[in-house]
Symmetry: C2
Subunit: 339 residues, 2 copies
Amino acid sequence: MSTAATPKPSPELIFGTLISYQHAFALKAAVELDLFTAIAEGATDAASLAKRVKAAERGVRILADGMAIQGFLRKENGKYSLTQDAAIFLDKRSPAYMGGMAEFIVSEENIRNFSHFADCVRKGGTVSSIGDNSKPVDHRWVSFAKAMGSMAAPVAGALSQMVSANSSAEIKVLDIAAGHGMFGITVAKNNPRVQVTAVDWPAVLEVAKENAQKFGVADRYSVRPGSAFDTDLGSGYDYVFITNFLHHFDIPTNEKLLRRFHAALKPGGKAVTVEFVPDESRVTPPIAAAFSMVMLVNTDAGDAYTFAEYESMCRNAGFKSTVFEAPPDLPQRLVIAEK
Amino acid sequence: MSTAATPKPSPELIFGTLISYQHAFALKAAVELDLFTAIAEGATDAASLAKRVKAAERGVRILADGMAIQGFLRKENGKYSLTQDAAIFLDKRSPAYMGGMAEFIVSEENIRNFSHFADCVRKGGTVSSIGDNSKPVDHRWVSFAKAMGSMAAPVAGALSQMVSANSSAEIKVLDIAAGHGMFGITVAKNNPRVQVTAVDWPAVLEVAKENAQKFGVADRYSVRPGSAFDTDLGSGYDYVFITNFLHHFDIPTNEKLLRRFHAALKPGGKAVTVEFVPDESRVTPPIAAAFSMVMLVNTDAGDAYTFAEYESMCRNAGFKSTVFEAPPDLPQRLVIAEK
């Protein structure tokens, strides 16, 4: 089996994978202690950092070293400084700050569900009792809405471009399972012709409404609280945004949902699904493909669906045609189905 | 700040680090289900794998895809095969199998301690109640002894070479906190002149004695059950092996221990410490440097010490000279102090 090109066997990848959780927890702790902002504001050695973040010097030194090891800090002569990515995404004063997502991604609930991974494989789905996602789970989705808004910006930019190519005097957008609302809100902010209707559980919509206020689009933002499965969605929409939603359900459930969204669109309107979409192999690109693991442990029957699967679901739900867009540098992809 | 050479800002490393725990839990699940052995034995698609490992096909497909994403499997036309490293280290039939370490590294206890990382930083040490490591914690160390023996082979090879350069008719080795015992046992197996005395908690020594039997050195293997802090260690040793032990304690405690080991050596004898030893920067090499995080969350005052710190501890404990060896391709390094 061994050839000249075969690298020397090494357990390094195995060991590195098994200890990788340590870096996830460390980064979450650094965000919680706001270590990056403290360094950016001038506390650059362990002693002054400890004072600033109100922690023990030994603890801060080990944490900051961990952040340097993982590539979020530089360390020179005992002094820490932020890498470019840390300065942009982890300094709380930065407009692109996204430290908040640590709390959601490395949540107690996710960790608990992942710690039962083998049982989930045996069962073929989550072993937790809240895997069907058709009922409100406020603690999870309010937390999502609060934490993950900053992640929406790149995709929201792509959606804004698409919507702005539409020449109608008024553009009606239905934002399904809006969460933080930042997809619809960004599109409305970028285009004064846009009117957004957001659907989500009542507690979650409070977060979206706050964001609509904050970004100055509250007068073009209305809500329909309730379940995407049975709330009256209204009709005549130009676009339905279905962001990070269909992955929670099995294919028949998604076809039922897509039929409802089809009915809410005007003729020629578009259902735009934003998702982690792996290639047909289901093992590339890595981040999109690995998302199926999150669905295995957290849901009864969700998945990271391929484009072929989305195409078939949209066709079965009555859509005329479906195209696929992969904006550069985004982990997520767009599935655009036309009525 | 941006220059021609500055890469485009991207949250990819942040996101990848936060989700990294998912790969750790997935690999642990694959080991628990013995997925790699099943594939090696010919169950190469999701359906036959599901039957073989007694799990749901959906679960197995997602798990195996996860293993392919992370580089432990190849996937072609829906069929999985083992990469070279997986075949050598994750197929249970392989003599170099080290899947067992998943259970210890991704243990419930480690996960619980890491999930309190921010609190450990604030406190400067573990928030668990078993951080001082001077008393027996059988569930942890018997599990370590059972899981981690396979990891000892590369270092045990380096120790064997060192010991075999010794021309004495009888070579007495004291193996401190022997755990699985595989350092001393391997050295004895490779050299019939070696006599090993192992020190550890009684329950842990049962594992070491089983291994000594298994590897055919039981007649040259004796034990001294108890604490390295106060058990009678005997005297006249050529070598004391101190493997993965000193990292649990603070410097004054280590000096006290090293004085005891110094006393147990014959003149010219050597104390050989095997450890994750970071460079003076404490941020390279990554695996050794990151080990300080494990000590922060699991111990009251342990650390991944630098060579300068070990040199000073050994000198204060009465050793004549201390040298440092970094065998190629090993994550661990040797600190060799001569009496």
